[in-house]
Point group: C2
């Protein structure tokens, strides 16, 4: 009996040939692979049986959620894809405990909607929320727009169910907020991109949904002032800052060039624009007064006024309506569109210590300019996290790699990371090989060998 | 040349014989061991050289911080203790980045004081803060009084420096809030009790220091109501609840018996008393008005009033002065004293899903009473974390183990943990052997073998 026939005995939901091809293409169209087959099991037991068989036969397996990753972590030329898409049940939401228990194939947006029925939120969110699945967000430790307040995916997970390479089930489905009984296997699995085990279910934290938002565009004299603004806002609001996004002059210039319909409230001609949003669940912050003004907005206005007096803020425009708020978000979210409108291009997802972003930008300009006097940039940053999307437009294709390596040099010297929120997959393997601490790589290989001695789980990904 | 002589060539700070004995005794006096020697290196380089030599010679090493642990994790009969106490430099505090960079031997309280000079806090705190050292708090993933708001030690750590068993230095000294470059070795080391590596330095998060506190004793109709009270308070304050502690009738009875000087504001004769504290950094919450009233206190008063209307609160006493606040804290902190005043005793540090604490208490009473009709209890709980200190007083010493195992049975059935915040060390090894998922234990042993193949790091601890 062939391998495929044996797999079909475990689950009839097996796609091959042309039916499998869509699973072999990644979201950005960079990786186009032809999988041997796509397995779509419906239960943890089936996942276990599949992995036991693949382990026995030495068959490589590529686990897949919503396939919305940006690093080619699900490329599967000639390999078996294990899709969790049919395991999409929200098993339980317990509002008093503020937890959701879900299968790995649940779509992020479906969880958002289910939580909303209890006036709760699962705060992890990003552009691909309509397709991304919980298992994938855990396997990549996904970031997104709300990390500043609520943390990365890692911070939102209490428990996991994992099927190991040999088919054994590792039951870490804890609902506990404290558990010091041995090594932290949960966090080892989170972010391991399907190379240590296949996540089949999770216990996730929910938070109360904000009742009011206060949103503003602010200009500041420089980035060190911006950080002091962020800290002041956190202190003065009790940690309610949900977004704190930085758009320098080059960003605004590209916005003007490619999305001239989106007019920034303080104009395009600003060195340092911050987009920020504060959100509250506190009733006295949220109930509009007779004039329709929400106290949270007055509070932000007052705080920005004080910071203006201190010289931390040059000018500010508060959103006075949902339409104005939406415009501000559109200006920030245009990044995906306006940043890729020029070729050649080098895309970066960097992280720096949060007080080193300004120094990084200066050093990058100084180092790259001699290499390519004509290079351009489009910079946008989740400044509150130190996460900088530093997109470069070299003068020629041949300059892409030298400029990329020059950026990596600076990031390494400044003890930053070449991968903030997207992971490694395939596309960041060269950076991982060149830049990651050698001792750390050795220990990661030791962990990999302990979890997957036959190297059948997502081979060739994550670890060079 | 003897081993000791060779070690003295690395660092002259070596204690032996009677000088070493104090290091062999644990804080609670349960473990009294005679170490072969105590090494007190002053640099990471010396730690590295020590471990390289110990690895070469197969010498077991017991890492030690402030030696304030509760599970015998530093017991060292005939072994070499590696004390980090001389590596006690706070290398840097960067207020804008809200981080502290410290050596492992820094005493927790010293870090508190250094952060306070910048109006910041390192929010991890517990009774032994004057002796406990940062390295030990990381090695045990310590809990404490502020976990509800700020998380466990794990949640407060951005980066680590670790010397591995063979002397190599694993440099994870990241200051980054986002870093998805490979497996999460940091969280693997945190909580591993010195069995995977020796922590020599860390990057820790700081938070703004609250400017005002509102503190209350509250009686509630039952624990499910208490949880709804907690959730309502979190929503209405925007997550400012720092303490939410449960003291049932048996606790109050023991308080009356052993600390009759401490009179609870709502009396001893209450089924369910909650002690809670809310803390704010928001200026408009904190500035006292002309009558001396702090708005945060009025706000809590108002919120409790509304919850009283909903039936979630039966009665409440707000602290109206620092003296009243101190009394409330003393009533809660008397636990350590009043709970150990009876023998025989079984001490438990359990964790349950936060909405299952009431069910656990009922099941424990029902299961233990037939085994020992005369047993007593003293229960106190960090209810917001689901952490229950369930102290049992069996009628006879012989009943200790049966009652302990009965509690473990219930905890296992309810998917709780037999070790919430104290770790495993030596004293919880039997529970670990009996109760931990076998697959998890196997994978932990695999990790241990990868990190410490010669098994020289804290042998016989953590993993059975």
């Amino acid at each position: 009996m062939t391998l495929i026939a044996r797999l079909k005995e475990i689950t009839p939901h097996v796609l091959t040939g042309a039916d499998a091809l869509p699973y072999g293409r990644d979201w950005v169209g960079k990786y186009q692979t032809a999988p041997l087959a796509v397995l779509r099991p419906g239960t943890t037991g089936e996942v276990s049986a599949i992995l036991a068989l693949c382990s026995e036969t030495g068959t490589a397996v590529v686990p897949m959620g919503g396939n919305t990753g940006l690093t080619g972590a699900t490329a599967a030329e000639g390999l078996v894809i294990l899709s969790l898409e049919r395991m999409n049940t929200i098993r339980e939401i317990r509002p008093d405990a503020r937890i959701a228990i879900v299968e790995a194939g649940v779509i992020l947006q479906d969880l958002h909607e289910a939580a909303a029925q209890h006036d709760l939120s699962y705060p992890m969110t990003f552009g691909a929320k309509g397709s991304a699945r919980i298992g994938g967000t855990l396997a990549t430790n996904a970031g997104g727009s709300n990390v500043l307040r609520y943390g990365n995916t890692r911070d939102l997970c209490l428990g996991l169910e994992v099927v190991l390479a040999d088919g054994r089930v590792l039951d870490l489905m804890s609902e506990l907020h404290k558990d010091n009984s041995g090594y932290d296997l949960r966090d080892l699995i989170i972010g391991s991109e399907g190379t240590l085990g296949v996540i089949t279910a999770a216990v996730l934290k929910l938070v109360p949904t904000p009742s009011a938002y206060a949103t503003a565009m602010v200009t500041v004299p420089g980035l060190s002032g911006a950080l002091r603004l962020l800290n002041a806002l956190q202190t003065r609001t009790g940690g309610m800052v949900e977004a704190f996004e930085y758009m320098p002059r080059d960003y605004m210039a590209r916005l003007k060039q490619f999305r001239s319909d989106l007019i920034p409230p303080l104009g395009h001609d600003q060195d340092h624009t911050i987009f920020l949003e504060v959100a509250s669940t506190v009733p006295r912050d949220c109930a509009a007064d007779e004039s329709g003004q929400v106290p949270l907005v007055s509070h932000l206005e007052e705080t920005l006024g004080e910071l203006f007096e201190e010289g931390l803020v040059l000018d500010a425009a508060l959103a006075q309506s949902e339409a104005q708020r939406a415009l501000m978000w559109q200006i920030r979210e245009a990044a995906a569109e306006i940043s890729v409108a020029t070729k050649p291009i080098v895309i970066n997802d960097l992280c720096l210590p949060i007080d080193q972003v300004e120094a990084f930008l200066a050093r990058a300009e100084a180092k790259l300019r001699p290499l390519d006097p004509g290079f351009g940039t489009c910079v946008v940053s989740h400044l509150g996290d130190g996460n900088v999307h530093y997109t470069i437009y070299p003068s020629t294709e041949a300059l892409c790699d030298p400029l990329m390596q020059a950026v990596e040099d600076i990031v390494e010297e400044m003890r930053g990371s070449f991968s903030a929120e997207h992971g490694i997959g395939l596309s960041k393997l060269p950076s991982m090989r060149r830049r990651k601490d050698e001792v750390a790589l050795t220990m990661m290989r030791g962990v990999k060998a302990a979890f997957d001695p036959k190297r059948i789980l997502n081979p060739g990904k994550t670890l060079p």
